[in-house]
């Protein structure tokens, strides 16, 4: 199963945590994002590898990135609905050099915009595939890469 690899590999790295802050930082192979107030429910769900998206309770439309108000109607009520994590590649670019030193072991890696069937588009990585096979329009599904604090990062892989 192609999406198992990143989850397993990252989990193995993260599970060896000793609580030593310095060595933990040294082992990280990802920039681990901070959490905004608006994004906190998203990140909380990733602890259970669940993909949830913000929807407006007034105009009933989803949006991405998470905001404290709906960008379509500017009203504040947001509800979090589960997504099945299916989508297609909207645009993709392979990085032959790392954007930051901690990504050096991953090159070449694919940065993509994935359009979810729910109607939002997000930046992500496409993993577990030959970069040359990641074409615009390709069907993908969400996978998860463990972060050191128990959160997971949504990445995408070939749809099974």
């Amino acid at each position: 199963m192609p999406d198992a690899e990143p989850t397993t590999a990252s989990a193995a790295r993260a599970s060896t945590s000793t609580g030593d802050a310095v060595s933990e930082t040294a082992r990280r192979t990802r920039f681990e994002p901070p959490m905004s107030t608006a994004g906190a429910p998203f990140w909380a769900a990733t602890r259970e590898q669940r993909l949830v998206l913000p929807w407006c309770v007034s105009c009933h439309r989803p949006h991405w990135f998470p905001r404290e108000v709906c960008p379509h109607c500017w009203r504040p009520g947001i509800e979090w609905r589960p997504s099945d994590g299916l989508g297609t590649v909207y645009a993709a670019s392979t990085m032959p050099k790392p954007a930051m030193p901690m990504l050096a072991d991953r090159v070449p890696y694919v940065v993509a915009l994935v359009e979810l069937d729910d109607g939002v588009r997000m930046m992500t990585n496409i993993v577990g595939m030959d970069p040359d096979s990641v074409t615009v329009g390709r069907a993908v599904q969400v996978g998860w890469e463990a972060l050191s604090d128990g959160r997971h990062l949504p990445v995408f892989t070939s749809r099974t």
């Binding site: 994002p33 670019s93 940065v111």
Partner: protein, 399 residues
């Protein structure tokens, strides 16, 4: 209410200056370069420091134009620190034209200096990504939270995503994008201050290393030191000055997103709004334009601008540029100083678009001169295809 059309040709560019070198480096601090450019542009116009009553700049520690004016000992009656990335200077010129046309100020100075190449070599900074710097500072911004973890190289990765989408949607090829770099380099070969003056071929571009697929090294702009300034005043006053006035015939600005992941359609920039607005105000169509200076952070930036401004239909930019029409002797001379791809690119290139457009309309461009140029377009594109601003400029004959 004042109609947009009423602003047409009420203000003019009357003084220009820019600095760049074939080494890519300039001597002097940013402030020293800014002051040198302002003095040179005022001298070009035949104006004096005491004439300046409007100050326009976009780079400082916090209050860009206020800090600059303090340094200059200037107490202006009009001030503007608008920051839209590389298109800031077209936006500032639009604001200056509006302020001058409505009597808010009479002599406006717009200035820019940046030394990323020297700073990088000196180990005091350079060209790092804004998001990475924000992350290091502990900021929680949307870009830090939702883009930075995925390792997109900035800024080329964002433009690469747009190129990938354009290629998949319209069949645009790497060879077609390369033609833009080749044409631009032919102009640079005639500019002794250009960083890259050696002619190149499509094969050279294709043989250069991938930076972020599908974009290669020669699809990408330079990182150089550079500086420039523009002086603007009213049409009435412009006629009595040293050089022929370059009238602001039309302006337009729009933006669609800040992060590339939020761009509504990666094949359509805000130029599809700012361009037509500028042409409408000027009362012209793209066919009337003699020379274009189009922000060329990357080859794809030029291709999208050509389509969005209406020089060719959407999706046909690749075929449009493939015959070399953007180069010397072509039917649409573009980026006649060698552009950000080969002349200079200190991070925010928009200043150089205006300076070159003005010189072309004055007939001052020497071997690069487009014969009889009467109408020029300077089209800035800032952020990551985020914020565009289009100026239509013209001579006395087109006023």
């Amino acid at each position: 209410m004042i109609d947009r059309q009423a602003i047409r040709a009420q203000a003019a560019i009357v003084g220009v200056a820019d600095a760049a070198s074939a080494t890519g480096e300039l001597d002097g601090s940013i402030r020293a370069l800014e002051v040198a450019m302002i003095r040179e542009a005022l001298d070009d116009a035949g104006l004096d420091a005491a004439d300046v009553d409007g100050v326009f700049s976009c780079l400082g520690s916090f209050m860009a134009s206020v800090e600059l004016a303090e340094y200059l000992g200037l107490q202006p009656v009009w001030t503007d620190s608008t920051q839209t990335g590389g298109s800031s200077f077209e936006v500032l010129a639009e604001h200056a034209a509006l302020a001058i046309a409505t009597g808010q100020c009479e002599v406006a100075v717009i200035v820019y200096a940046a030394t990323p190449r020297s700073s990088f070599k000196a180990g005091t900074g350079g060209f790092g990504g804004a998001a990475a710097r924000a992350a290091l500072a502990g900021a929680v911004t949307p870009m830090v939270e939702w883009e930075l973890p995925f390792g997109m190289r900035q800024p080329m990765g964002a433009y690469a995503l747009a190129a990938s989408r354009h290629m998949a949607t319209y069949g645009t090829t790497s060879e077609q994008l390369a033609e833009i770099a080749v044409s631009t380099r032919r102009w640079a070969a005639m500019n002794p201050r250009a960083r890259l003056q050696e002619p190149i071929t499509v094969d050279d571009v294709l043989a250069s290393p991938i930076e972020a697929s599908p974009l290669r090294k020669l699809d990408c702009c330079l990182v150089t030191d550079g500086a420039g300034a523009v002086v603007m005043t009213s049409a009435a006053r412009a006629r009595d000055l040293r050089k022929p006035p370059v009238y602001v015939l039309g302006t337009g600005t729009s933006h669609t997103h800040a992060m590339i992941s939020e761009m509504p359609d990666l094949t359509v920039t805000a130029g599809a709004v700012s361009g037509p607005r500028a042409f409408q105000m000027a009362g012209i169509s793209p066919a009337d334009v003699d020379v274009v200076e189009l922000y060329d952070s990357f080859t794809i930036t030029v291709l999208l601008a050509l389509e969005d401004l209406g020089f060719c239909p959407k999706g046909e930019g690749g075929a449009f540029v493939a015959d070399g029409k953007l180069g010397p002797g072509g039917t649409l001379p573009a980026n006649t100083n060698g552009g950000g791809l080969a002349y200079t690119h200190p991070g925010m290139y928009g200043m150089f678009l205006m300076v070159e457009a003005a010189r072309q309309l004055r007939g001052e461009s020497g071997p690069r001169q487009v014969p009889g140029a009467q109408i020029a377009v300077a089209h800035g594109c800032g952020g990551v295809l985020s914020a565009t601003s289009t100026l239509v400029l013209g001579t006395e004959a087109t006023r």
